[in-house]
Symmetry: C2
């Protein structure tokens, strides 16, 4: 019998909770029935509404567990305060289960700040990792996807952090996106080695000397939607700027009634969230506006992350002598 | 009789020189015949090809002056070396005329680095200005245009520089784009005052206290194509990232055969260049791939910049006690 993974899902977090969250659970069970021997879902939410939505029969299945939560952290609450003051909230309870090892992964579309408080304060960084990092997908016309990291947690980065992001992004790309020996590019304002700001110039040197990764050089922002690099590293300020500008173009394209298959891939609502990389467990953060499909994908992403055990792989890479 | 402005135009600089440059001169003379009493064009190029293109009659007009240049600085030449080693090039001769006061403005689609060498080494910064800055246009769906600065000269900026950009951008916006009391936004990764990286957090405080400008707060990159701010300030690294990402989306839209009036405004080939702001004279840098229309617009931009005497207005603002 294959190993089973305990997946914790926040039913109360997100703009469309609990309806979309429960619909997403339904959809996951329908679309991924092949995984039902390999997962056990832990639903953190209000027990009555969960039972009402899923039905008594489904709720009695061995792969459904309900953890009754009487409170929720709203999207605009102060993360640290809310985390301390709401022990009965789905997010705090979820992190409690994760820390205790009762679940292998915790996923939420709720308050991102509170998710980061849980990640850094309750779970903690992998030894040698300065700061955790989150990624976003860059859809390409070829049908491939690149990833970019960091996209918002670390506004100010030292060159060494970009070098760590390159290692973390390569591991993510290899095991979650199935790209062997992924090509790493450094987001910069010129392709030549000597171009850039102080941080990217210094980071370029570190990346070039890092033989744990397949570094291909600088990538300008005009090149991030081409197939040049699988993993693009940048500080969280720049990554966030890139991500929101892409979202803005997508929104304008949609508003202007332009129908195009490629640009539909910029609909970040439908993606299943992103793992917090660099911490000692699996935490998945989904977009606040996640719909049914996004929640379904978030659960699938949670399964993939648990199965591939990224924290262990990242920890192994950190102890390698290759990494600065 | 109204004042006449001497406009220096590099006929040899740019990917499509000298053909497009001379076509652009033709087009300017046709489209702006109302200005012929107010301008005198100084064409820096090879005299034979200029006479061949414009014809003897036009070349004998009082508003056409030809300065024979036997050399050109290529787009991939080292700017400083080329500037020193090619005194007969159109760019070096142009800056010589500008410094001597024989022309009021010098415009080129040639080597940007060489144009910056001329701007900073031969013309020099306005007193109190740390570094010159260049802007780019942000087309809005409403038909309005915002500007963003810096877009590439200053990869690393101190908060004080962003504060200067705000003043410079406001003056540019008021006199060149005819926007009274232009709204200034700080490009950032959150709308709240406390969001951002170290530079934007500190810059926010300076901008808020600067009563020379109409500061409206932080703008996320998803908001730069809305009508929120007329002037968006950022460091040159981030501005360059924004600009090239917009170009990339435009190229993909074009490649996919999408026809849309709004997105056509992202065709930066057709814009008439951007002034180097913060130096003691008028210098206009156009895109290397400028076509006839772009060169025509570059000449019109040169006229507008000279007429409005931006350097004097920026110098006045710098001596004002309001500015940090």
């Amino acid at each position: 019998m294959s190993k089973s993974y305990n997946i914790g899902i926040d039913i109360l977090g997100g703009d469309n909770a609990p309806e979309c969250n429960l619909n997403g659970v339904h959809r996951f069970l329908e679309n991924h029935s092949d995984l039902l021997n390999s997962v056990s879902l832990f639903l953190f939410g209000e027990v009555t509404s969960i039972k009402e939505s899923l039905g008594e029969e489904l709720c009695s299945k061995p792969y459904i567990n309900i953890i009754d939560c009487k409170d929720n952290i709203g999207y605009n609450e102060h993360p640290v305060k809310a985390f301390l003051q709401k022990p009965e909230s789905s997010i705090v309870k979820g992190f409690g289960y994760l820390k205790a090892g009762e679940i292998d992964v915790f996923a939420s579309a709720g308050n991102t700040g509170a998710m980061m408080v849980g990640s850094t304060q309750m779970i903690g960084n992998i030894e040698g990792i300065s700061r955790p990092v989150i990624t976003s997908i860059l859809p390409r016309e070829s049908g491939n996807h690149g990833i970019i990291l960091d996209v918002g947690i670390n506004a100010d980065c030292k060159p060494e952090m970009l070098n760590q992001f390159a290692v973390i992004g390569s591991i993510y790309s290899e095991f979650i996106r199935n790209i062997k020996n992924p090509k790493v590019g450094l987001l910069n304002i010129g392709e030549e080695e000597e171009k850039g700001n102080l941080v990217t110039k210094a980071a370029h040197k570190l990346l070039k000397d890092n033989n744990r990764i397949n570094f291909i050089g600088n990538i300008e922002s005009r090149g991030i939607l081409n197939d040049g690099a699988d993993v693009i590293v940048c500080d969280g300020f720049t990554g966030n700027i890139i991500l929101k500008q892409a979202e803005s173009f997508y929104e304008i394209i949609k508003r202007r009634g332009i129908k195009d298959d490629y640009f539909e891939h910029f609909n970040y609502e439908s993606y299943g969230g992103t793992p917090v990389l660099g911490i000692n467990s699996n935490v998945i953060i989904a977009h606040g506006i996640s719909n049914d499909e996004a929640i379904c994908n978030m659960i699938k992403m949670s399964f993939d992350a648990s199965k591939n055990d990224l924290p262990t792989k990242i920890a192994e890479a950190m102890t390698s002598t290759f990494v600065c």
